[in-house]
């Protein structure tokens, strides 16, 4: 067994299994499922357990999908299951509002992520301020980050810090990055800010764990990962794999491997029909740079209209759609169908 003598920084693993995973099951997790996984993650020493609709607070809708449970019920259920883990929530201005933030902190949210599309950090000014005023830990994240250049992302992250974010970073919402892309971006961001830097990967191109390791080596100290990779599209960075990989590389996560393997087994049994896999349309969506959460609605629309879902993903990629624009799926489907006639 190889040994690592270099002292590497502690990595905080942030676990959005009960938020991002919702994309894989049409936002339909019930209270027993939430409670079971939150209990297991808490027992494994996962530092932050994030919960909510796949697109976060306030996002339950016809457009994105209606959650089985209202936000307050999800939060209360998970809060009651956590004794040492913090509870995290996610909110994108425009989908949720400050009222949702107040309700979430009331119900015990400790870490509140405010999200914006990659070049839109200035929509977060109000809400990051609200989170700080409420006394929760405020983090700022940039969605669909592959659409902006590294210097732009760094500048946007600096803005998030200016607005009050205590940690900032990027989400590879489309699973588009290669490790070199991640390293370049994390370097640019760590140079621009003096708060912890966050990386959130997706596995469309099979690189979520490799990208997360690259992010850690480049200086990110908060990495998102989910049990079995439960998440949108081809899934997220697989948490239990990342724990093992980081341990081998000499990064301390504070999470024991046996305990996290047990939590992952429970997640597979209780939360999902099958773990996420990289099917052909996941590859197409990663290459096209389309939000991973579009997978289910794209498949449904393609099936109904009799168009090829890969074509549909590539066409949506050409339109540079972002998360939240699910209303375009129907339009683009009809255009493809008309063009095929």
């Amino acid at each position: 067994m190889d040994t690592n003598t270099i002292q590497r920084p502690r990595i905080l693993l942030h676990d959005p299994t009960l938020r991002d995973g919702h994309h894989a099951v049409a936002h339909r997790l019930d209270a027993d499922q939430l409670r079971a996984y939150a209990t297991a993650a808490n027992a494994a020493g996962v530092p932050v357990v994030e919960v909510g609709h796949g697109n976060g607070l306030g996002a339950s809708s016809l457009q994105i999908g209606r959650a089985k449970l209202p936000d307050p019920v999800m939060l209360t259920t998970v809060r009651e299951a956590l004794t040492t883990s913090k509870m995290g929530v996610f909110m994108a201005p425009g989908w949720g509002t400050a009222d949702d933030l107040r309700a979430a902190v009331d119900r015990g949210a400790d870490v509140v992520r405010i999200a914006a599309h990659c070049t839109e950090a200035d929509v977060t000014e109000r809400h990051l301020g609200v989170v700080r005023d409420l006394g929760a830990e405020a983090q700022g994240v940039l969605l669909m980050s592959h659409m902006a250049r590294p210097d732009r992302l760094a500048e946007q992250c600096a803005l998030l810090v200016k607005f009050g974010a205590q940690a900032v970073g990027i989400m590879d919402s489309a699973g588009h990055y290669l490790p070199a892309d991640v390293i370049e971006r994390i370097h640019a961001i760590t140079e621009a800010v003096d708060v912890p830097v966050i990386f959130h990967g997706h596995n469309n191109l099979g690189l979520a764990v490799a990208n997360s390791l690259a992010a850690a080596e480049a200086g990110a100290t908060i990495i998102d990962a989910t049990a079995r990779g439960f998440g949108a599209g081809a899934g997220n960075t697989q948490l239990e794999v990342l724990v093992a990989v980081l341990e081998r590389r000499g990064f301390d996560t504070g999470i024991g491997l046996r305990a996290i393997l047990a939590a992952a087994d429970l997640a597979q049994e209780r939360l999902m029909e099958a773990p996420p896999r990289i099917d052909s349309i996941s590859v197409a969506s990663g290459v096209a740079g389309v939000f991973s959460g579009f997978k289910k609605p794209v498949l449904q629309a393609a099936l109904r209209a009799g168009v090829d879902p890969v074509d549909l993903f590539l066409a949506l990629g050409e339109r540079q759609v972002v998360a939240g624009q699910e209303d375009l799926i129907g339009d683009v489907t009809r255009q493809l169908k008309a063009a095929a006639r």
């Binding site: 809708s61 457009q63 839109e120 929509v123």
Partner: protein, 288 residues
């Protein structure tokens, strides 16, 4: 000149994307005389641009508006948080105030629905750009069925949303959903907002979904077409781009592009709310 004497003296408060275009639209109107563009910062790029365009400008905000002498109409294109102060200053002066920020405080007006009521009120609110694009159609549809739920998702190009819009997203959502409920009689309305970083910039788009029982497709389609025609009178780039009518659900989307003037094509959000504002100011002129 006789025609000039009948023109209403107007001022624009705010020199952002909305204020600048409003100034241009007002100055082109045969019924309006643009007396002032008042910003709130000497360093404002928009104010410099307004001066370059040949308009009288001041960095002193509402104070400059009050000092500009008797005005018939002031357009508030600042920020929802500042609007109350502007109304307090103008209330009782006889000057009408048309509010383009999402406060919902004044008489809420959507021209094709209740524009005729506007001249009777001194303080108008125009909801939001998404509200101006959606409510004419939602109101028309709700005359043909009784929606139990309405959802609106508006997506604007990043470049079409200035600082105040970005700070006011919560007010935008609250004011727009309240107006949808009022104008349609629907109890449950949800509003979501996206800003798109795509290049080239996509046009302003508002997608709507209504749930209702017993929808009859033919009359719904007819009424939507008629309502859209009426909006095009002051927002020529307004277009229904998709419409799917099922027995229990109507899904439609409109896209608005800016036409004429200096606005880039994608800034249909600015074009439609400003088109409505200038139309209402002209109605004050006609009502005198």
């Amino acid at each position: 000149m006789a025609a000039d004497e009948r023109r209403l003296r107007v001022a624009v408060l705010g020199a952002g994307l909305i204020g600048l275009d409003l100034a241009e639209k007002a100055s082109r109107s045969a019924e309006l005389e643009l007396a002032l563009v008042a910003g709130r910062s000497r360093d404002s790029l928009g104010l410099h641009r307004a001066a370059d365009m040949g308009y009288a400008t001041s960095p002193d905000g509402i104070a400059a508006v009050l000092a500009a002498g008797p005005l018939d109409v002031v357009f508030d294109a600042t920020n929802a948080d500042s609007h109350a102060e502007h109304w307090a200053a103008l209330r009782g002066t006889g000057t009408a105030l048309i509010d383009l920020t999402p406060t919902g405080v004044g008489k809420v007006i959507v021209p094709t629905v209740n524009g005729a009521q506007a001249p009777a009120h001194q303080h108008l609110n125009l909801v939001s750009c998404g509200g101006q694009a959606a409510i004419p159609l939602l109101h028309a549809i709700s005359q043909r069925c009784a929606p139990s739920y309405i959802e609106l998702v508006s997506t604007g190009a990043s470049a079409s949303a200035g600082r105040a819009t970005r700070l006011n997203l919560d007010q935008y959502i609250a004011t727009t959903s309240a107006a949808i409920r009022t104008f349609t009689g629907t109890r449950d309305a949800k509003v979501m907002v996206n800003l798109s970083p795509a290049r080239p910039e996509p046009p302003f788009r508002v997608a709507m979904t209504l749930l209702a029982d017993g929808i009859r497709p033919a009359p719904v389609r007819t009424t939507i077409a008629a309502a859209a025609d009426a909006v095009r009178a002051y927002a020529p780039g307004f277009k229904v781009t998709s419409l799917v009518v099922d027995a229990g659900r109507i899904a439609l989307a409109v896209e608005v592009t800016a036409t004429g003037g200096r606005l880039p094509r994608h800034a249909g959000s600015v074009d439609i709310i400003n088109g409505a504002a200038v139309l209402l100011a002209e109605q004050y002129a006609a009502a005198r």
